[in-house]
Structure formats: structure tokens, C-alpha cells
Symmetry: C2
Subunit: 455 residues, 2 copies
């Protein structure tokens, strides 16, 4: 076989030990909070039937699906005419009936419908798995990345919204990231669309104002005009979006402005209920109504959330909301739920930028035995076994290499202590322990060594 | 959108909470032992360049790779002639340049070569990730399944073989599975091929005798004759394979028989060294030389291992061995290593059959607050927050549903305790705690509740 220069596909990553430990610290923190709130983990296959995925993410999304070539003679059902037409889009559906998961929401909806008879509702599930998108790779955007989702499905109570907010609060507090939690409600946006005279254009309105932060009001206005909004209607929206004041002020303002919109009033009532719940608690992070928050996804129908880090600019690091009909497309209508998704990559980047990953690490190796040869090995191996039995991560350097090389190994691996046992130590039934950070070293017996590690 | 009957691709699985908890119990046990021995986790992308994967698993393996259709106009570099030839194998390489990971060994070799300048050797890595194979799905064989691999690369010391055996011992002891660990050495097999007069046919010999358990000596003999072995040579192999006795007896027998084979003597020396190491320890599980053990994979060059469960028939649940040139194909020759792979699905099946999964579960919810309505929620929510703050998994039923429905939820979710707080409890600042298993119930105050959960 010819030698190859090894590489990996564009937009994908290898996770080396150090990076993986940090990523797992984020995952473990998120998981422990999800579990504390009673959410249970599920996993779904990397591959889904293309029929499950297609049409769920818009035309653009369909193009960004990674499709898997059918096995065996994948051309057998394709006619010559089809082949010669060379229409990649059409042909891909003939050549492929499976695709890689594009997000965790659609597989979750599919899962709920498929397993509805085994599931106890309300169903609180979380899912932390990679997803794949054939996006143009760029800094911070990958073709393989992890999503961390939690959803409660089968309950309309606003108590669920409270718990979502509490989880956000606890997770970011544990990760030591100060955040702003912004909240809005799609029904309020629908109310605004209604009083402008465009009740049917709520989605267009949402998609446009979702960009307010990035492109400013004038460009949002241009987009709305393109979508058929009249200039006067847009002028009416502006003061609502720009209204400043406390959450109570905003709710009072909305009550007046949306007094003729039934759906708007519903949204205000939901929002008020959530704030009644949250007022019972002291949040460390800011929680505020942001009427310009819309979130791009079509399936939200109630509360929507978005979280941004305060101490470094990164965009949204977490978001979610309530949906009333996620499972309808798979044949199970009217199942309401609310979900939240944590952006692990962006959270990782925030923590790197702020340098707030904990320095101590439960996964690291505490002790390395230096290898001085066969006799010394024989002396060290039972001690090593004893230390591992106590639950400590420890190892012996496998070769009788030069001392310098072995010490450099310990150093590069960030090993805390090194144990040396030569003729003298063996004669006294002791070892010499060296602290790799301070350089301190002392000759101690084995019970002392174990006591030492326990501290 | 039309309603769809949801399903998943053939040979793939959804992992529901109960199954996933059990699977994670296996993974967590394996991981904790890997870490204790100083192995560090890495992860590689699900997709690899096809050039990395093709040709590494034999012709059959190439066919079983899941290939990913190129994005965009995947036909642009394919000529009309190529299309009309309808050769699926050839065409697949034009339509696809990425494939899903088929195992963890080849991506690991690719990783080591690609990151050689960042890695501290000897490199002890583990990796637990799914792999995909377009095999015909059947009971116990999936198209998506997990592998759990640990390898030490960059050291020729037999101390590494000892540590592999110690990890096998500890993992299966922790999982409560009694096993037999069988060991052989490819150099001994090479010696046997040599003294039979077929030094060049070691791989053929290995592949044939690897099937001894399954098909018996006569069929192995047939296969060897087909591969060009003479009948007389095969007759010479039989007594070696069928020799019974202790490991020392076997090594003595081999020393005599293979006295003229340099490579055979090397294999015996390696094996003897491993047994010198293991004799220092009391193993709970049987460790024996099995001269009929060959393992199918071509890259092994020294010690090989295989582990079978004693109390239920399942075939091999763990296996591995030493290789001298895994990374050569990617341009980094002569890097010796030794690895082990745990078959998570089979281990899962063994544990289910023997019913030895632990019944207590750290992930489960300890306490559910029954929801009696708005006022009662208001009373319960701060208590719930307090309990979670103590680190316990707990929840409140989100809707004021009928008592029966809420109790049935607690029951189905296997929640240990239920807390009830109605008018009376609230007036006394207490809650009524019900043990879901015994049915016992008592009215206690909040500090008592917390003390109770701590036990």
C-alpha cells in the first residue's frame, strides 16, 4: 500500500486528550443538572431515514444533509434517462435513502412517536450527541458538532418553563459563566403581527426581527417591506421593539397595545405566569424580556429563550422554546413541549477565552513510577496495584529509558508525583516521592505514600 | 406535509433511558479502569476520508463501508461513459470521498501519525465511540455499534501486556462477569508455520486455526489444504494445537518443537516474560495459553488475547493484541503497540442474560412532589430547590393531574419517594413522604426530609 499523508474531512475535528477533558467537563456539568431536574438520557442513531429528515429544515437544510450512498448496486433502480439528466438533487434521492442526523429535535420527535406506547408522559428527556451539516466550514462552525438538548414533552404547564430557566441558571453558575437570559413569546409576536394588520405574516416578522441585533432596524425594515409589510405598519412595530423598562413595564405596555389581540393576550398571560414563578427565586443571572428576540425556527409557538455570555462577545450560547406540534408531522398531533439546547462549542470557546476551566482534573494521573529495570519493576508493581486498588490513577513507565526521558514524560502528561525506587529504597522498603510542581522530594514508606495520596 | 410512519434504518437502534443507563454503566466501568491505568480519552470524527479507510479491511471491508455522497453537484467530475458503465464500485469512489468510521483502530493509527508532534510517547489512549458497517443485520449484529478500545503505542515492553491483562481482570471483576482470558502469540504461530515448511503462510494458518473452535479440526484441515498446505504438515500441527497441560507445560513443549525457529523462540520468550509478570499477582479469572487462538486480523505480530464469559455462551467479548506496524501505511513505520477492545453489545447481552446489572442507580430520581395546584406548588418549589441544591435528583409533577395519574408516573419512572403537601401539611410546615416500594408514609418537617434523603 502506498503511504498516505493523513488528514480528516474539512470541518471535522480530532479531540485530543486535553481538549476532550475540557469538553467532557462541560458535558458532565450539563448532564448532572439535567439529571437533577429529572431528565433522562436517550440516544438515537447517527443515520435516519432520509424521509424522516427531508423537508424538516427548509430547502437550504435539505441541501446541507449528509446523505449516505445506498449499499450494494445503488444504481439498480435508476433509469438511464435519470442518470443522463444529471440532476444531482433528484438523483441523490435515488442513490441514497439514509442521511446523517442534522439536529436532535427531529430525531427526538420521531422517537416520541415511534415509542409513544413505552413512554411515560410528561416525558423529560435529554440527549447529547453529534450532528452533521454540510455547511461551508469556517472559524467556530463545524460540519460535525455536538448538541445538548433537554425537552419536556406532554405538558402545557408554565412550570416547565420555570425549570428550563432554573437549569440554565444552574448550569452557567456551575460553569462560572455570567449570562443574560432573554425571554420572549411567539404569541406576543403573533399579537404584534396581528395589530399591524398581518396576522398571517408572524413567521416573516419573527425571522426578520430575529436579525435586529445583527443588522439593525433599518435592514429589518427593508426585509419586512420585501415580505409585503407596509411602511406604516413597520413604524408601529419600532417603538414596541425599542421600549425600555422593567419586565413588568414591558408586560403593562404590551397589555395595552395588544388589547385587541386574543393571541397576544395569551402570550402576555403565559409570560406573566413564568415571571410569577421566577419571582419566588433569587437568580444570580439577569432574566429579562426581549421583545426583539424571535429565534429563527418555525416550530416555536410559545415562550422562547436565548442566553448570551456577558463577559465575552460570542452570540447565543443556549436557546430554546415551547412548541405545540413537533410530532404532528409524524402522526401524533397536539403534543406540547418545551426544550432547550446548549451550544457546547461556543460554551467551550467562552470558557477558553475567559480562562475559567478548572485546573484540577479528576481524570489526570496522580503518580508515575520511574522504571529502573527488571528488579525495580518487580518491587514497584505490587505497590502500584495497591495504589490503583485505592482508586487512584497511577502508572509505571513501561520502558527502562533514560531518567530524563521518563521525567519529561511525567512533565508533559501533567502527572502530579513521581515515585523512584532504586537499590536503597528497596532495601529499606520505601520509595522516594517527588512533587513534580514544587520539586520537593522525600523518602517515605508505603503506608505513608498511600496516606499522602489520600490527602 | 404528509404524515409519516416513523422508523429508523435497518440495523440501527434507539437507546431508551433504561437501556442507556445500563450501557453507560458498562462504559463508565471500562472508562474508570482505563483512566486508573493512565489511559487518556481521544475522539475522532465519524467521517474519515475514504482514502484513509479503503484497503484497510480487505475487499469485503471496502464493500461494508458506509460512503457519504459528496455535497453539491456530485456528478460534475463523472463522465457520461462512467455513468453508463453502471459499475457501482467504481462509481462510488467518484460520487463519494468520505466514509463512516468502520472501526477505531485505523482512525487511531491515522490520528497518531497526524498528531505525532503533539503526542508524548509511549501514548496510552482509549476511545469509546460508535462505528458503522453495512453488514447484513441479524440478531446481535448491528450496523451501528460501539467499540471500546485502549492502546499503548510506542513501547515494546511486555509490561504493557501485563497491564492489558490487569485491565481485563479488573473490568470484568467490576462488572461481575467471570471470564477466561486466553493468550497466544503470533510469533509462535509463525514458528509453527515455519517448522511445517510454510514460513510464508503464517497468515493463512492463523486465519484457518482461528476457526478451530467453531468448525473443528477437520474443516480447518480442509481449509489449510486449499491454501496449499500438505496433509503431512497439517498432521504435525494437530498435536500442538491439541496439547493439554499447564501454561508452563505448553511453553516447555513449544521450546522443544520450535527449537529451530528463531521467530518461534522469540514468541516463547515474550510469552514467558508475560507469565513472569502475571505470576506476581493473584488473578480471580483464569489466564491460559491457547495455541489455537489466532484472531482474524492481519496486523497482529506478537501477543494476542481473547476473553470469553464463563457463565453464558456468547463467543468472544473482548480481544486484542500487539502490532508492530499499524501506522506504517500512513508513513510512520516501526511503531510498536498493544491494544484491547471490549465488545460493549456482547457484554451488555451477557449481563442481561445473567441478570447482573446493579439495581441501584445513581441516575434515578429520588423524590417526586405531587402537584395539587397553584398554592401547593408555591409551597413545594422552594423545598424542591433546596433538595436539588443538596445534590439529589428530584422533580415536581408539572400538571395538577389526577392523583392516580401522578402516582402512576412516579411508579413507572421508578421514583423512590413521593412528597405530598396539601392544606394540612402546609399549615404545619411539613410534607407527607411516601415510600413507593413499601407504601409506608409519614408526615415530617423539611430538615427531617433532607436528613432522610441523605441516608
Amino acid at each position: 500500500m502506498a503511504k498516505q499523508k493523513p488528514g480528516i474531512p474539512q470541518g471535522t475535528r480530532d479531540f485530543s486528550p486535553e481538549i476532550l477533558q475540557k469538553r467532557d467537563y462541560i458535558f458532565d456539568t450539563i448532564k448532572s443538572v439535567f439529571r437533577k431536574f429529572g431528565f433522562q438520557a436517550i440516544e438515537t442513531p447517527a443515520m435516519e431515514d432520509l424521509s424522516t429528515l427531508l423537508g424538516k429544515y427548509g430547502e437550504e437544510g435539505d441541501k446541507l444533509l449528509f446523505k449516505i450512498l445506498n449499499s450494494g448496486n445503488f444504481l439498480k433502480d435508476v433509469s438511464d434517462t435519470e442518470l443522463m439528466n444529471r440532476d444531482s438533487n433528484k438523483l441523490s434521492v435515488s442513490l441514497s435513502n439514509k442521511g446523517l442526523r442534522y439536529d436532535l429535535t427531529v430525531p427526538f420527535a420521531r422517537y416520541v412517536v415511534q415509542h409513544q406506547n413505552e413512554i411515560t408522559f410528561p416525558f423529560k428527556r435529554f440527549q447529547i450527541q453529534p450532528v452533521w451539516r454540510a455547511d461551508r466550514p469556517q472559524k467556530g462552525r463545524y460540519r460535525e458538532f455536538f448538541q445538548c438538548d433537554a425537552d419536556i414533552i406532554g405538558s402545557r404547564s408554565m412550570l416547565n418553563e420555570l425549570e428550563i430557566i432554573q437549569m440554565i441558571e444552574e448550569i452557567f453558575t456551575k460553569l462560572n459563566i455570567r449570562v443574560s437570559i432573554r425571554i420572549n413569546n411567539r404569541k406576543i409576536l403573533a399579537g404584534i403581527a396581528e395589530i399591524c394588520g398581518y396576522p398571517e405574516k408572524m413567521i416573516d416578522l419573527s425571522i426578520a426581527i430575529d436579525k435586529l441585533d445583527k443588522i439593525g432596524f433599518d435592514k429589518v425594515s427593508d426585509e419586512l417591506i420585501q415580505k409585503g409589510f407596509e411602511y406604516k405598519a413597520i413604524e408601529n412595530i419600532k417603538p414596541i421593539l425599542e421600549f425600555s423598562g422593567s419586565s413588568t413595564d414591558k408586560l403593562n405596555m404590551l397589555k395595552k397595545i395588544l388589547s385587541n389581540s386574543e393571541i397576544g393576550q395569551k402570550g402576555i398571560a403565559e409570560m406573566s405566569e413564568i415571571f410569577e414563578y421566577t419571582e419566588q427565586f433569587d437568580f444570580q443571572n439577569e432574566l429579562k424580556i426581549d421583545l426583539s428576540l424571535a429565534r429563527g425556527l418555525n416550530y416555536y409557538t410559545g415562550a422562547i429563550f436565548e442566553v448570551t455570555a456577558l463577559d465575552t462577545p460570542m452570540g447565543s450560547i443556549c436557546g430554546g422554546g415551547r412548541y405545540d406540534d413537533l410530532t404532528g408531522v409524524f402522526g401524533m398531533p397536539d403534543l406540547s413541549g418545551v426544550g432547550i439546547s446548549f451550544g457546547a462549542d461556543r460554551i467551550f470557546d467562552v470558557m477558553e477565552q475567559l480562562n475559567i476551566f478548572p485546573t484540577t482534573n479528576q481524570q489526570s494521573v496522580r503518580l508515575l513510577f520511574i522504571n529502573f529495570g527488571k528488579n525495580e519493576e518487580k518491587y514497584c508493581l505490587p505497590i502500584l496495584a495497591e495504589i490503583r486498588k485505592m482508586g487512584f490513577n497511577a502508572e509505571i513507565y513501561p520502558e527502562n529509558d533514560k531518567m530524563k526521558k521518563q521525567m519529561s514524560y511525567a512533565d508533559k502528561r501533567n502527572i502530579e508525583f513521581v515515585a523512584l525506587a532504586g537499590e536503597n529504597e528497596i532495601a529499606q522498603n520505601k520509595i522516594t516521592l517527588k512533587n513534580m510542581k514544587t520539586g520537593e522530594q522525600s523518602t517515605i514508606d508505603i503506608p505513608q505514600l498511600i496516606d499522602f495520596l489520600k490527602k
